[in-house]
């Protein structure tokens, strides 16, 4: 990458400021337009710009076009980087925004928990310990082993999700490693640990696609043809 800097004044250095050149080399013209867009053009830059525009009005269109591109890119960038306002240093001060961020993270990583709850409801329907008639209200969250999900301890409910998921074939198992997100010492001397538990689930699908990138970095999907390698499933 050649980074030959422009003159501090993009006006041709052989010309006096009173007689700005009509045309400029491409780079210097670009810098001149950029300075106008960025609001850092000097009075000399403006004089040069007007002199060029007097003979080549297309520079106004060029300025407008690049200004529009700049604004559209900046709108995207400003929107994207605004998410940084909610990211605090770990263990730092916790304000509303950082709490929202944490809740976002929890909800994102908590997807499996919601999925587990849905699976439980789908798998078992009504609790086995009660009899129902059609007029009874449906009690959501029963886990089917004589215990309601609301009554079960989290570990019990989780174990039941694993057990029933494995028996139905939808859960392969749990990874042995727990991924620590954050540790925080508590006033009473204990340590609070936030961590992830990883569950491997299984699903049978009709088609598989692989994600690829094209030459401009865009993601697209390619169908994958797989040959059966085993007659049995996992």
């Amino acid at each position: 990458m050649s980074d030959q800097p422009m003159n501090s004044n993009p006006t041709n250095s052989n010309e006096s400021n009173d007689q700005p050149v009509i045309g400029l080399p491409g780079d210097e013209r670009d810098v001149l337009i950029s300075r106008v867009i960025d609001g850092v053009a000097t009075s000399t830059d403006w004089a040069t710009f007007r002199a060029i525009a007097a003979h080549d009005p297309s520079i106004w269109g060029e300025l407008a076009e690049i200004q529009t591109l700049h604004e559209m890119v900046c709108a995207h960038v400003e929107h994207s980087v605004s998410i940084a306002d909610g990211v605090e240093l770990p263990g730092g001060m916790i304000d509303d925004r950082s709490m929202r961020t944490k809740m976002d993270i929890v909800s994102r990583w908590g997807g499996w928990a919601a999925a587990a709850a849905i699976l439980l409801v789908w798998s078992f329907g009504k609790p086995m310990t009660q009899t129902y008639n059609d007029n009874d209200p449906v009690i959501a969250g029963s886990v089917g082993t004589g215990m309601f999900l609301n009554d079960a301890q989290p570990n019990q409910a989780f174990d039941q999700y694993l057990t029933s998921g494995q028996s139905s074939g939808q859960v392969v198992g749990e990874m042995p490693e727990h991924i620590v997100i954050e540790t925080r010492p508590m006033p009473d001397g204990t340590i609070e640990v936030l961590y992830l538990r990883q569950i491997i689930e299984r699903r049978v699908i009709d088609h598989a696609y692989r994600e690829m990138l094209d030459e401009t970095g865009n993601v697209f999907t390619v169908p994958v043809k797989l040959s059966p390698q085993s007659k049995s499933s996992f």
Binding site: D27, L69, H79, I83, L89, G92, V219
Partner: protein, 201 residues
Amino acid sequence: MNGSAFDAAIESAIAGDRDALNHLWHQSRRWVAAILLAHKPREADLEDLLQVVAMQVCRNISTINEPRAFKSWLRTVAVNAAREEGRKTTRRKKSMLRLVGMEHANGRQPESADTIAADSDESKRIYQAAMSLPAGYREPILLRCVRSMSYQQIGEVLELPTTTIETRIARGRRMLKELLAQQSTQAEQRVEAQQTAGGAR
């Protein structure tokens, strides 16, 4: 925070002052996000990467020897975090297949914060074209958008002279304009070819 106060905050943060470190982070996190945008894989989550950088800042701030190197050090941390995510993404793509229909089954499409910003095809096309510029041009162009960082401030982050930053931004904008014009021409040619093929039938 002016320059000398910022430098003083860096020294305090290096010495272990938590409040000073928070100040530095608040002053820097938006441009750190822009650096991550410029280097991260498209599908990587910007917020997750910011958390990674924040953690690295807390862990390693005391390793900085020269306070003036703080901005370039922070940029390096961000670039490394983005590249590491890129390597992970590549590994994942090689080893995993996408489960088709999962997103629809869950009722939502996967999207990251920066793709949410794409609210029209045209602005999305322009943003993506900007992101396809070489990193040397993409980075200063994106930084310039962060609360209108000055050429000098961008130069401090990228450790480049102000004149070089100015040149790269100007050239980058021209390249973006030319790239979009080229894409439009190609799109028109494709439409013409399709129309010709349709007429031939």
